[in-house]
């Protein structure tokens, strides 16, 4: 028999341990954040990932819920990153005719972008006194989360820290990327898309699709190719440079 005081808290204790709560609050937070983003005319300053993450962390801390308990439900959403990565093959295929014409500049830009991105983050972090584990967790920060976590583990970083750094990098790139290129006077959607995908992976790609279908497709392409390239060359680079 539940006593009067234990009623609600018993229900909460039961629910908090089930995936239902984590999954539901993720969906609710995102749909609210997305509405806010649409309401603000897709202003990059109200990036839905940023607003959802902040809301969810505040909620979890207020209700004294651990991340592990939350992730029981969050993992169902997180898992879909895998099929979503596979799904990138489709826009890639649909833009293939356009891509064939620019394969050389795209390949050179992605190869150099990936190398510059990984090494600059490691060396800048080192210069300012970050621990080795943090430096290594930063190295794959421009790669889409599931791939970055795999790379981080391989090179001796912390996969869960990498996931966070990946999301922050993505938000930054999505928020300020197009502005920076506008300052440089670059208006070509294929170039903007490639830079976005190499720097800000899926979060940037989501943003790029709001600018134009062409920028989205090129961003998706760059995200896919840079995930692949980073996975192949980063462990090797780390060994060669003795990081």
């Amino acid at each position: 028999m539940p006593t009067e005081t234990s009623d609600l808290s018993t229900i909460w204790v039961y629910l908090a341990a089930s995936p239902l709560v984590g999954l539901t609050i993720t969906m609710v937070a995102y749909s609210l954040a997305y509405r806010l983003y649409v309401w603000a005319n897709h202003s990059p300053l109200l990036n839905p990932v940023a607003t959802s993450v902040i809301t969810l962390i505040a909620f979890l801390m207020l209700t004294d819920t651990s991340y592990e308990a939350y992730f029981e439900g969050g993992q169902f959403v997180h898992f879909l990153l895998g099929p979503a990565t596979v799904a990138l093959a489709i826009p890639l295929y649909q833009q293939f005719s356009k891509l064939k014409k620019v394969w050389l500049p795209v390949t050179i830009a992605i190869l150099s972008g990936v190398t510059i991105g990984a090494l600059s983050s490691v060396y800048i972090a080192r210069l300012f006194g970050a621990s080795l584990q943090t430096q290594l967790s930063l190295a794959p920060k421009s790669v889409t989360a599931p791939v970055a976590m795999g790379i981080s583990e391989k090179i001796g970083g912390l996969p869960s820290l990498t996931a966070v750094l990946v999301v922050i990098t993505g938000i930054l790139g999505a928020t300020f990327g197009t502005k920076i290129l506008a300052l440089l006077g670059i208006n070509d959607d294929s170039i903007k898309g490639i830079a976005m995908g190499v720097t800000a992976h899926g979060i940037g790609t989501a943003r790029a699709f709001h600018v134009s279908a062409e920028m989205g497709a090129f961003s998706g392409l760059a995200m896919a190719l840079s995930a692949f390239t980073t996975a192949v060359i980063l462990p090797w680079l780390i060994t060669v440079l003795g990081l």
Binding site: V77, L81, A84, G113, I168, I194
Partner: protein, 123 residues
């Protein structure tokens, strides 16, 4: 049914990707291998089944949602981030700007060198 069929195809390719990577001991993550295999399949078949198109555009149109659980993981690392907030912030911001600008300029440079500057040919 269309969405489910498409999602099933994506899962099968992811699974085959994971198995290939494990079997051949490749450094590439499974989903990336799955993407490459699906891409090659599409190139050979010359068309995308409608169900696959539906599933892919549904997943990709809300790609942002999928990053949220990983982002919430920040709360586990508050202490480390608190201790190393300066190098982490500088490294992320500077490196993101450098990567963005360098990638764009390198691609622009290559386009110019090869005589294909976005849309108008310089003949």
């Amino acid at each position: 049914m269309s969405f489910l069929n498409g999602l099933t195809i994506l899962l099968i390719y992811q699974l085959v990707g994971e198995v290939t990577v494990l079997y051949l001991e490749l450094a590439v993550p499974g989903p990336v291998m799955g993407m490459i295999l699906l891409f090659v399949t599409l190139l050979i078949r010359h068309k995308t089944p409608e169900s696959l198109d539906t599933a892919a555009s549904t997943l990709l149109s809300h790609l942002s949602l999928l990053f949220i659980p990983a982002g919430v993981g920040m709360m586990v690392h508050f202490e480390r981030i608190g201790n190393e907030w300066l190098p982490i912030s500088i490294a992320i911001i500077l490196s993101a700007v450098i990567t963005f600008v360098a990638t764009a300029l390198i691609m622009l440079g290559c386009n110019r060198l090869l005589g294909k500057s976005g849309g108008h040919d310089a003949h």
